[in-house]
């Protein structure tokens, strides 16, 4: 569900050219909840853009980040993940299958506000990461034991 017009307009406005590669990369991020890293985006696009390189993905990610269309997620893996949902929300990573999901059930804004009011820093952002075992991996683990 990408609003292609919006991306196109924003890229142009910020002085970047509009290319099929850039639209495709943003499109992948808009149509997944998997929070993919560069290689996952690369693999997803491989069948349709067989000549696209990882370098192009990294360069495009830099631009999308700069113009505020995506955010970077650093859940303590070797690689970074990317999210087209730029609104603040915590993430949780399964320590067994490494899947990364959004946490929406709890609103952290009061906590963040409290920190902002009690620190001498001029706050500009924050990231909350949770770690645990997802329901699917719990089930698999129970099967093995039971």
């Amino acid at each position: 569900m990408m609003d292609a017009k919006k991306v196109t307009a924003l890229l142009r406005k910020k002085g970047f050219k509009v290319t099929p590669q850039r639209l495709a990369i943003y499109n992948v991020l808009c149509n997944t909840k998997a929070h993919p890293n560069a290689e996952m985006i690369f693999n997803k696009l491989q069948p349709y853009y067989p000549t696209m390189s990882l370098a192009t993905i990294y360069k495009t990610i830099d631009i999308l980040k700069e113009i505020g269309l995506i955010q970077v997620i650093n859940v303590g893996e070797d690689s970074l993940r990317y999210d087209a949902v730029v609104e603040l929300h915590p993430h949780i990573r399964c320590t067994v299958c490494n899947k990364v999901e959004d946490i929406m059930q709890f609103d952290f804004s009061p906590a963040i506000k409290a920190v902002a009011e009690n620190t001498s820093y001029d706050l500009s952002g924050q990231q909350f990461y949770f770690y645990g075992v997802c329901p699917e991996c719990q089930a698999k683990s129970n099967l093995k034991i039971g």
Copy 2:
């Protein structure tokens, strides 16, 4: 203020040998609030252990992590930082001077409890990172403008 006896006993108990390098590295982490990365530890020890290598620092960090004496801090830099305070507490990084400090003014345990009760994950840990400009860098910035 490292409790050398405690480290020594714990290393032995877990089947690791006690070496001056290991004690020194843990000692550095116990006596700083700077949340150093491997290179900062290396530089700190350089005058006293001129032959110590970065490889030894990384290997020691792995062990200290494994036996629960330190925690890893991933504030979105190129390198990881380490903290001898293993109790949960949020960290804040100055986006100007890159200093990393503890946040102690606010208790996140109620928020974490709420997430634990509302997620289908079996929670094992979490990390909260804040970003902003520290008071010192704010002052410097004001000088330049004013």
